[in-house]
C-alpha cells in the first residue's frame, strides 16, 4: 500500500490481500454447504433404505400371493378329486333296472357337475386332454340315451336303458378315474413345493 493512494482504494487492496478464509462469509457459506451435503447424504441413505424395504415388501407380497394361489389350486384340486370320486361311485353303481327318466336325471346331474369341476382346469395342458375325453364321452352317453327315448304310449323293456348306456358310462368312469389320478399327482407335487 502506498501512502499517496486514496483511502477507499487502500481498503479494497487490503480486502483483496486478506485470505478468503479469513472472511466470516466464507465460513458461513461453507457451513451451510456442508450442512446441505450432510442432509442430502442422509436423505439419500434413507431413500435407498426405503426403496430396499419397499422392494422386499413387494417380494414378500408376491411370495404370499404365489403361496395363496398354490394353496387355492391345491384346495380346488382336492375338492374336485373328492367330487369326482363321488361321480365315479355313482357311475359304478348304475342300476340294471334304471328307467329312462332316472338315467336322464343322472346324466344331467353328472354332466353339470363334471363341467363345473373341470372348468378351472381346461387351460391346464396336462389335464386338458383327459377333460376333453370326458366331455366327448358325456356327449356319446347322451346320444346313447337318446336311442332309448320311449315312444309315446310304449312300455319300457326292463334293462333297455342300462343296455344302452352301460358301455358309455363304463368308459366315462374310466376317464373320470384317469383325471382323478392326474389330479392326485398334481396335488402331491403342490405339497412337495
Amino acid at each position: 500500500m502506498t501512502p499517496d493512494q486514496p483511502e477507499p482504494l487502500q481498503q479494497i487492496e487490503q480486502a483483496l490481500r486478506t485470505p478468503y478464509w479469513h472472511h466470516a462469509d466464507f465460513w458461513i457459506n461453507a457451513a451451510i454447504g456442508a450442512a446441505g451435503a450432510i442432509i442430502g447424504a442422509v436423505g439419500l441413505y434413507y431413500a435407498i433404505k426405503a426403496f430396499r424395504a419397499a422392494r422386499a415388501a413387494q417380494r414378500a407380497a408376491m411370495d404370499a400371493k404365489t403361496a395363496a394361489d398354490q394353496a387355492g389350486r391345491f384346495m380346488t384340486m382336492q375338492t374336485v378329486a373328492i367330487e369326482l370320486m363321488g361321480i365315479s361311485q355313482r357311475l359304478n353303481n348304475l342300476d340294471q333296472k334304471i328307467r329312462f327318466r332316472e338315467a336322464r336325471f343322472l346324466l344331467d346331474e353328472v354332466t353339470g357337475k363334471i363341467h363345473r369341476f373341470t372348468a378351472p382346469f381346461l387351460n391346464n395342458p396336462e389335464l386338458a386332454p383327459s377333460i376333453t375325453r370326458i366331455h366327448e364321452t358325456l356327449i356319446s352317453t347322451k346320444n346313447a340315451l337318446s336311442g332309448v327315448i320311449p315312444s309315446p304310449g310304449e312300455e319300457e323293456v326292463e334293462g333297455q336303458t342300462y343296455n344302452a348306456i352301460q358301455g358309455e358310462t363304463a368308459t366315462l368312469n374310466l376317464y373320470v378315474n384317469d383325471l382323478l389320478g392326474l389330479l392326485e399327482v398334481k396335488s402331491h407335487q403342490q405339497l412337495a413345493i
Binding site: 386332454p129 364321452t137 332309448v148 320311449p150 310304449e154 333297455q160 343296455n163
Partner: protein, 129 residues
C-alpha cells in the same frame, strides 16, 4: 352262451327273421333302438320278444406315448320274456356272445326294413296318389 346253445337257438332266430321279412311278425318300435313283438293268446299276453341295438365303446391304449383310443362297436340284445311272470327265458347279448352278432344284426336289419316299410305305407295311406 355255449356254441351248442347258440346252435340250438339259431333256427328259431332264423325263423323269426324270415317271418319278419314276410310280415308275419309285426314288431313295435318302442324307442329309436328297440323293437318288441308280443304274442297274445285269447287276449292275454303270453310272451314278448325284444331286440335292442346299442353302441359299445372300447378303449385301448395306442401309440407312444400311449394314448387312449376309443372304438365303437354295434351291439345287439335279444330277449324272450314269458308272461305273466315276466321272467326272461332267453337273453342274448352280443357283447357277451359276439358270435351271435351276425345273427341278431340280420334280425334287427329285417325289423328295421319292416318298420321303414310300415312308415312309408302309412304315408301312402294318408297321402294317396
Amino acid at each position: 352262451m355255449s356254441p351248442t346253445e347258440l346252435a340250438a337257438i339259431k333256427p328259431y332266430i332264423d325263423r323269426i327273421t324270415a317271418e319278419t321279412r314276410t310280415e308275419q311278425l309285426i314288431w313295435t318300435k318302442i324307442n329309436p333302438t328297440t323293437f318288441t313283438w308280443k304274442k297274445t293268446t285269447q287276449g292275454n299276453l303270453e310272451a314278448q320278444l325284444s331286440i335292442q341295438k346299442t353302441s359299445i365303446q372300447t378303449v385301448a391304449l395306442q401309440g407312444n406315448p400311449p394314448r387312449p383310443v376309443t372304438q365303437t362297436i354295434d351291439n345287439y340284445i335279444f330277449q324272450a320274456i314269458e308272461f305273466p311272470a315276466a321272467s326272461i327265458r332267453v337273453n342274448i347279448n352280443t357283447q357277451l356272445d359276439p358270435e351271435a352278432r351276425p345273427l341278431l344284426k340280420e334280425l334287427f336289419d329285417a325289423i328295421s326294413v319292416g318298420a321303414d316299410r310300415e312308415a312309408i305305407n302309412f304315408l301312402k295311406r294318408i297321402f294317396p296318389d
